[in-house]
């Protein structure tokens, strides 16, 4: 027990401490000697012919086959280079020291648990402006800019302070999932209004199945249908006002109506008992086993449930029903966001090569491979046309197509994580009836006001 530090250990400690005290924050010297090649029609971004390219990709649920493929195309186009591909997890922990010392790779897919906070990267000026890439001719059709080959909202989602700095690869749609055969068997049809939803839930409950379950351990899953309903009622303006932290927006009629709609599920006992304590796996498995009819989730659900989905379950994605008679967005409007954030660090040694790599990555060929191997929807428009898709992915692709310009996405979660947390907490309480919709709105508004008043938070506008 008694290990008094001796003078010697103290001295060593002190010396080591002073020698290393600036370690975590010590920067590298500023040298801007990014490699450059000649820009031609074949090579519009001027990627150097012989500089090596280092790509670090998050290897998660989607794998990294598509990124490897993009690398091999790059190698074909620039035979004198080498492509160093790394598919890893915990991207943030691995790359944090390299960003601090300004020695980053040339392309990064900053995704998955433990990724680096995007807003922090942007505000520290660590990312390259992607405008040049977006305005470059696309790989498949030189008469079309890269910008015009992407699904709506993708560029905006990667734009911070007016500058596009990130391009997400996988498009995620949020909705309410159900098994098509189960509904056909019982003669149920997916509701188009929330009033119909409640009537249908009553019917489902009588048949002995719980109408809803949700991933209660992580309350953000239920936020998605809630804020989707609000967006349908309040339109794009509401979404923007929420992201811009406008005073009183969480107490606006549309938002309150949405909170009340979700609250009604709990009030009527339409939720599988115990859902509030189920992890995403437990809740989704209960749903896959047919214990509940609806579950809210993003379009990764089919891939995630692959191992436990019974044959012939045929899950499909339904969009949030309309909330009021005077909804601003039409039926079929859907909440969409994209993930797998590809970026080119500002201090990359081969930034031009990084941009060229992204031009290849966002081509039809690589995107189709992604849809087939990773069972997810790439953000490249039309990439899934003519492919045979599984039930869930097909419904996702179809929903995306049908929605067209009526896709919306909130950004406050990325911009202001503490607000996201406050919303999660409040929604968890709403679904257990410990909070009324009014009190819910009051609490979330208070959190939004606190973020707005916090001078240490960099504010974003859209």
């Amino acid at each position: 027990m008694h290990t008094h530090p001796t003078r010697r250990t103290l001295l060593i400690g002190a010396v080591a401490a002073t020698a290393l005290s600036a370690c975590a924050t010590s920067g590298a010297d500023d040298d801007d000697t990014s490699a450059k090649g000649d820009a031609t029609a074949e090579n519009p971004l001027g990627a150097p012919q012989d500089a090596p390219l280092e790509v670090v990709v998050f290897k998660g649920g989607y794998g990294d086959q598509y990124a490897i493929e993009a690398g091999s195309v790059y190698k074909q186009r620039f035979p004198k280079t080498t492509v160093d591909h790394k598919g890893i997890q915990r991207v943030g922990e691995v790359l944090q020291p390299r960003f601090i010392s300004d020695d980053p790779p040339d392309v990064v897919d900053n995704s998955g648990a433990g990724r680096l906070d995007l807003v922090t990267l942007v505000s520290s000026g660590k990312l390259t402006d992607l405008t040049e890439l977006l305005d470059a001719p696309s790989l498949d059709d030189p008469s079309k800019k890269v910008r015009d080959t992407l699904m709506p909202g993708v560029v905006e989602e990667g734009t911070f302070g007016g500058k596009p700095v990130v391009l997400n690869y996988s498009s995620v749609l949020w909705g309410i999932w159900y098994s098509k055969p189960l509904f056909a068997k019982n003669g149920w049809t997916y509701p188009t209004t929330w009033a119909e939803m409640l009537t249908l839930c009553d019917q489902i409950k009588k048949s002995g199945i719980a109408p809803w379950t949700w991933q209660g351990k992580f309350p953000e899953y239920m936020n998605d249908p809630l804020i989707s309903l609000a967006a349908k009622a309040g339109g794009h303006e509401l979404v923007k006002s929420v992201d811009n932290l406008e005073p009183g927006i969480w107490k606006s009629p549309s938002m309150l109506a949405a909170a009340d709609a979700i609250y009604q599920l709990a009030a009527h006992g339409f939720i599988l008992p115990g859902s509030e304590a189920l992890s995403h796996t437990e809740a989704q498995n209960a749903w896959s086993k047919g214990q509940a009819a609806f579950i809210p989730c993003g379009s990764w659900l089919e891939g995630e449930q692959q191992q436990v989905t019974p044959a012939g379950f045929d899950m499909v994605l339904g969009t949030a029903p309309s909330l009021t008679a005077s909804d601003k967005l039409p039926n079929g409007a859907v909440m969409a966001a994209s993930s797998e954030s590809f970026l080119v660090p500002a201090k990359a040694k081969n930034a031009r090569g990084g941009l060229e790599y992204l031009r290849i990555l966002f081509s039809q060929k690589v995107a189709r491979g992604f849809a087939q191997n990773s069972k997810a929807l790439p953000v490249v428009a039309g990439a899934t046309d003519g492919l045979t898709l599984t039930s869930g992915l097909a419904s996702t692709a179809q929903t995306a197509k049908a929605a067209g310009e009526n896709m919306f996405g909130y950004r406050f979660r990325t911009w202001y994580p503490p607000l996201g947390k406050a919303l999660d907490d409040a929604t968890g309480e709403l679904l257990t009836k410990r909070l009324t919709p009014d009190r819910w709105a009051e609490r979330v508004q208070k959190a939004a006001d606190a973020v707005a008043a916090d001078s240490s938070v960099t504010k974003q506008k859209r």
């Binding site: 005290s21 920067g27 300004d102 351990k217 008992p273 209960a286």
Partner: protein, 294 residues
Amino acid sequence: MRHGRYRFLAGAMLPPLLLYAVFVVSPYAQAFYLAFTDFNGVSSDVNLVGLDNFTRLWSDPLFLSALRHNALMLVVVPLVTIALALFFATSTRGGRLLRAYRVLYFFPQLLSVAIIAVLWQFVYTPNSGLLNGFLDRIGLSTLERSWLAEPRLALWCVMAAMVWSAVGFYVVLFAAAIESIPADITEAALIDGAGQFTLFWRITLPLVWDSVQVAFVYLGIVALDGFALVQIMTVGPGGPDNSTEVMGLSLYRNAFTYGKYGYASAMGVALFFLTLTLTVLMLRATRRERVEMA
């Protein structure tokens, strides 16, 4: 010869000490420095902000509620664990079979915290969980509930898991201490007519007090942490509605989700001094006159 030996010893000691200095001491020292900065984790452009981070701490409602939860755990966990461990250690004294039983108590000690948290999550899970299933079997189905989803119960559920995982080690520790009490002392007390309770209170406990004191300090440190259990087991995590928030979790969230490394370091520094103060206080408070055994 002696000189050679010292040189050998120094040579053997120096590398590990150096590694310790680089990988343990220096990060600690850096954390102290970072607590006074606005370090965001990726930028080397770091500004000193004085005591800003520390003043923010005292107006951060989440950190304050975390502090309250840790305080409650600090009162409950050591007391319950030590009481249970003393009870098990004394009641498994006689007979070979009972002693063998002690091994069972020790099992949780062999599991990593992550596994313990996952196991207890299965115990508490509402629809197929062990606890609700058990209540159902013995006809107490009215008591069934979503244990970890009720703000009033969640923290107690976490503490139960914490006590369960810690108690075995102290059973073994106390059992060894009790074993070392000379038999003639207990015999003399029994001859003088002491009952089991008096024997424990007047003879056993004072003679194992050193071990109990150590247990208080260790368990106090465990109670001030609780991060891993809360992070894996609870709703949110830290919920429902922040009812299981602990300081370690606040720190983790601020650093790794909010990118406020400076602020998180300030929490770490506060936690460091809290633990240090409490250790000293506990050692002081539990100090008794030492009983010398011949």
